[in-house]
Symmetry: C2
Subunit: 389 residues, 2 copies
Amino acid sequence: MLGNFTYCNPTKLYFGKGAVKNIGKELKKYGRNVVLIYGNGSIKKNGIYDEVVKILAECGKTVSEIAGVMPNPTVDKLYEGVEIARKAKADLLLAVGGGSVCDYAKAVAVSVNCDEDPWEKYYVRFEEPTCEVVPVGCVLTMVGTGSEMNAGSVITNHKTKMKVGHVFADESVMPRFSVLDPTYTLTLPHYQMVAGIYDIFNHICEQYFSGEDDCVSDYLSEGLMRSLLHSSRIANKDMQNYEARSNIMWTATWALNTLVSRGKTTDWEVHMLGQAVGAHTDATHGMTLAAVSLPYYRHIMPYGLKKFVRFAKEVWNVDPAGKTDEQVANEGLAAMEGWMKELGLVMKISDLGVTEDMIEGIADSTLVMQGGYKVLTRDEIVQVLKECM
Amino acid sequence: MLGNFTYCNPTKLYFGKGAVKNIGKELKKYGRNVVLIYGNGSIKKNGIYDEVVKILAECGKTVSEIAGVMPNPTVDKLYEGVEIARKAKADLLLAVGGGSVCDYAKAVAVSVNCDEDPWEKYYVRFEEPTCEVVPVGCVLTMVGTGSEMNAGSVITNHKTKMKVGHVFADESVMPRFSVLDPTYTLTLPHYQMVAGIYDIFNHICEQYFSGEDDCVSDYLSEGLMRSLLHSSRIANKDMQNYEARSNIMWTATWALNTLVSRGKTTDWEVHMLGQAVGAHTDATHGMTLAAVSLPYYRHIMPYGLKKFVRFAKEVWNVDPAGKTDEQVANEGLAAMEGWMKELGLVMKISDLGVTEDMIEGIADSTLVMQGGYKVLTRDEIVQVLKECM
């Protein structure tokens, strides 16, 4: 690694069966007023809601609620939550749900004490909070986004057709604690599980496919990818396999808590394309990434050939004997395609509701990142999106 | 991963050339009284001392010093440092040096406000601090121990011939911040560099060679080992190669900051053997580990054959075609031996000053760990030590 960097990630993680019982000692560190944040109410069906509410009551907390956080949380929902948290004089925001609920809690956390419009400040101008940030805790029920141990927060604005992620630099935006109980993920539908698995895989790819220098981070990424491929194949056939689901949950956290980007540049163009598709279709995040990945990677492969060869050999065990670099790299991507189909991922944006007439609008919503092996032009974005149909 | 666990590592790391300039903002968080802790004075020759003292002065700190911390810090030196820190009413202990200096600073940190004998409390009874822990910051000048981002602290008692490491569970023992500037390590002698490299490698092995379950941690360990092998070969030939030294420095931190032990059992018997040799010879830590490793691993290999086969294939690229598991495992250890000799590591404890008549005493000083593939008997310890001669 040639670059300078800072690493700090103070989130305390409680991992394993029954880990939620640890939140009592965390709750003691904060004031009386807790705002409980959750999504569509599935936590009321599977008992997690009751479990958390019981602990909050035992700790003598006054609980307000923000319910109905949607899979792609909107800016209007953010405004609504900020009002609730202000009224409650929130000392702690406790997110119980998947990445969207965690992302949303962080967006509320930086907005409660903010005088400006948070959408403008954080998601248009990408500023850091200048006000006090309300502490966030997470009880994770879905795996993929890594939101439980980072300072990232994605919010969607339907008016401007933008789905924007902001990774805050300020550590105080990171959850103070997160509970990761793999058993909470066992009731998820297969579609959600594999979308989450691909989200994890792509988080690693976005950080891996960038830069030319030799860097520990890439070796760690390869380890995470190998572990994820192994466990995903087990979980795909046997969703109730605790060991595999547990490995997947832990991989998700480390795929996006800044570790594997230390000392290197990163890409994130697949996320920009996928998020643009998401803003126009409201499709599941991981599936939007799956549907745009291969055309994008095949498009940039000639510009980052050496890394794609390494990917093929180290992640997919492609034997390079007697082959050109292009052949090895293509075999790696073909192996990745095979795995994606095995999982049953959505491989085309047309299967997510995108029609030909939407392509230009999606291209307009696609931010262009600078860290990939090829910085896309507007024409290339349109071309890649057409290849995703 | 099948186990439950907690992960929390709040140490803030500043990495790269010139990273020391960041300590100014950290120093602001603590009171006026800083105790500067360092070793044999090499930091006065290479300019690091002047650089740190200048920043302390700019921040208006009152500075006391504990100088002359030895490579294997002793309990007598600990008592001396505790007195200095008490007199100085230390608000921060700033360790500038290698792992021994950091370890020592942590030992002082938990002892300043402790009413009992710290050796008895922490290194005999292995208790957690029940008093306020003085914050520690580190400026690292040598690579290997990982002490910059963990709560471990090794202290040697020459009277009882014990070199004992205590990994505290309390996060407050971890350094609050650490500065990792690879250029600080470029002036080290080759002997110290390779001893540090082997220390890192063995930290990973101690966590890798334990347990039967499928665990993300083992994949991360393989990534770290592959990166370390690659960079160590470059650094061995070209000690001034910044990129390689930088990768080695970062690997050292992640090899022993608890990440790669999450969700699994661990061994640490090589450290118990090596530390016993160290207590009797005062030899360089990494070299004691190098000199005992292969006889130990060859001894336990039949009991953990599956893992040694995986090690051979994933870390050393041994081709298993047409070979028995024993052959594959042995080829892996042979490849490891080749790499160790290439680096010029000490391969025999007799080369560290151990004589036949010391074996029984070293065996008496060797703690027996429970997590390895074979829990050693007293006879096996003696046998392994004899094979190390």
